[in-house]
């Protein structure tokens, strides 16, 4: 028993240690960081966060990440829900095959699609617009969305849907008035997990949102060093600031994260 307690204390320390250090060091001056890297801040300063805000960049990066995340997640959840409903409540030729194909796409890594998508976006003049990244993110999230939601929709009893139809409800009506409300938790789960992924995504943002005005949070963090001026505590402050939104959402809705992440795997076996 004790051995296990120790095991977990060690594990928790390993996990929390870096996060605590990042927070702590974000209050140091540069000189303090260089001379006294591990110790407590001496002096304790708020300058780093001030610099982040004043520089104007952090807020802009947050906005860009938010725009791309919200739009792509909104569309992928909506389109995914529509599609999942189509797969679960209708029968049409090739349904099972197409469904299996769609969800198999989940494991294809984005790197495989990057080059043709870049050329396509270039031709359409969409590189360095939110559109290119948003469409690609939407597409990349759809297989998981469809998978998660269809598995949920099939659990909704036929009887409820039938009685709605008897009451004169169209298919769309059934979708909006019955199925969606019943699927609230699955939808939230999907939204939360999708947002996590887009918010933290680097490769696509790096390639399609290169222009300074469009830089997202993760890309901004990397670029945050001027070519020749390095201020490590400011960078650490930026790192911490970037972690905060997700940590907050996580603390509020931990179960959604857990559900979302495991649902994908458990049912997928």
């Amino acid at each position: 028993m004790i051995a296990r307690q120790i095991l977990f204390i060690v594990a928790a320390a390993v996990v929390l240690g870096p996060i605590v250090y990042i927070l702590m060091a974000s209050f140091k001056t540069k000189m303090d960081y260089v001379r006294n890297q591990i110790g407590l801040p001496h002096p304790f300063v708020l300058d780093n966060y001030k610099k982040l805000m004043e520089d104007g960049q952090l807020l802009k990066w947050f906005m860009n990440s938010a725009i791309v995340t919200i739009s792509s997640v909104a569309v992928s959840v909506s389109v995914g829900a529509l599609g999942a409903f189509g797969f679960s409540k209708f029968s049409f030729p090739g349904k099972e095959k197409i469904f299996n194909l769609v969800i198999a796409l989940m494991i294809i890594p984005p790197i495989v699609m990057i080059i043709p998508l870049f050329v396509l976006a270039s031709r359409a003049g969409l590189v360095n617009t939110y559109w290119s990244a948003a469409i690609i993110y939407t597409g990349l999230m759809l297989p998981f969305a469809v998978y998660l939601l269809r598995n949920f929709f099939v659990t909704i009893p036929e009887s409820i849907m039938d009685s709605a139809k008897i009451d004169g409800c169209s298919d769309f009506g059934t979708f909006f008035k019955i199925v969606l409300p019943l699927s609230r938790s699955a939808l939230i789960t999907l939204t939360v997990v999708s947002m996590l992924w887009v918010w933290n995504e680097l490769l696509i943002a790096l390639i399609f949102l290169q222009r300074e005005e469009l830089t997202t949070l993760v890309v901004g963090l990397i670029r945050f060093q001027g070519r020749f001026r390095i201020d490590q505590p400011v960078i650490l402050a930026g790192i911490f600031a970037s972690m905060v939104p997700m940590i907050v959402i996580y603390l509020i809705g931990q179960r959604f994260f857990v559900n979302g992440l495991t649902a994908g795997a458990l049912k997928g076996e």
Binding site: I67, A74, N128, F228
Partner: protein, 450 residues
Amino acid sequence: MKRILFAVFVVILLAPVALLAGGQDESAGAMAAKTGRIWIWGEDEAPGLTDFVRSVGDMYSERIDPQVRWEVTHLDIDEIYTGFYAAEEAKNAPELHTLWGGILGFEPAWAGHLVPLSDYVSAQTLSHVLPPLRHDGYWNGKDWLIPLYVNPWPLMINKEVWQSAGLDPERLPTTWAGLIQAVKAMNAAGSTPWCVGIKDGFYGTWFPAILQHQLYDSPSDYLRAVVGIERLDRAPHDRRWYMVGELHDNGAFNSDANSLSLAEGQDLFLQGNVGIIHASGNAYMALLAKEMGEDNVKIWIPPVDSKAKGAGTMPLSSQPVAIPATAKYKVEAGKFLEFFYSKEIQNLMYTEISVFSGSDQLERGSMKTDLDRALYDLAQQKPGMTYPWLHPGAIEEASYAITQKLLAGNIGAAEAASEYEQAAEKWRDENPEQLKNVRIWATEDMPFMK
């Protein structure tokens, strides 16, 4: 309740459209008949550049042609080439686009993505470009690239650190052996003689830029080795590896160079106790002077025991611009460059934002500081070649990895030189077309290089 849900759903579907609309590339320009676009890079090296080019664009509209309006965008460094190729792919490239100089700038030209500048800019104007810079934009009888501004690229020393090591900063070494002695002394005194950050690799090309370039009379001497007429692992071309190796063996560099990015390595100089920094750009050098003491710093070209014409010259890096093949208003682009390269504007660039011009029409009288005067003298009288521009990307990238191994102590100089030649051989093998083109560059006669 259900209606509300439906409304929410519709809003969710439409919101992205509204949000995304914000990110479109707007080129309004309702007034003028033509809007020319200029995409540049350089704010990091030349702060204020973008606004300055904008103001020149406004002056152009006022004085030269009110029918034309110029829209200037600053690119991110990673965007320079991907953005260029994307724009060409869309057949919608801007009128002027920043590229790197030399082979990296010619590659788009060879692939059909540039038009010659010399078709749109007068020979008279082009004749004012400093010869080594013009060389890096000139291929097969035509000019393709022209510098937007110039970045002086010498060494800078911290006099105090030299003094603490028992050295006299007013009598700097004049031989390679003297340099090594100085390095040893600074190392013994507990200082870092020369700060280096090579995690991202670039410094691999910075070394030869200040050391090797002095061994040649002209860029063609080196290019002959790039194209295989001579070998990169034979003298004098291999000396760059031996020089870096010797410096390393005598403790010149901080031991963690491989885990510091270029910026982090440069930052060590500002932290103090570093004797030498390879500094890029007079804006950056002004900052170093301010932080470390105006009278405490001095620029220096290190001695490499060379009798060639390149000895004692200061390398100049410049980010040139070119006219893409699918630009709409090429004639206007040329006219803009004529205006930009006039004596008036080139001097204005210095007086307004303290950025050096690539033209020989810059006047010494405008210089504002001693540092700038020293840089001016070197730039105008002893302009050196820009070594990094003289080889293709694949070979340059190989030098990153090889230098990292050298600094980690994994290999010695001889092995480094041999690996470098192998990388070059591979490039020559796999790129016969490019090789042909570089040979033309290596062997053609350039009248302005006399």
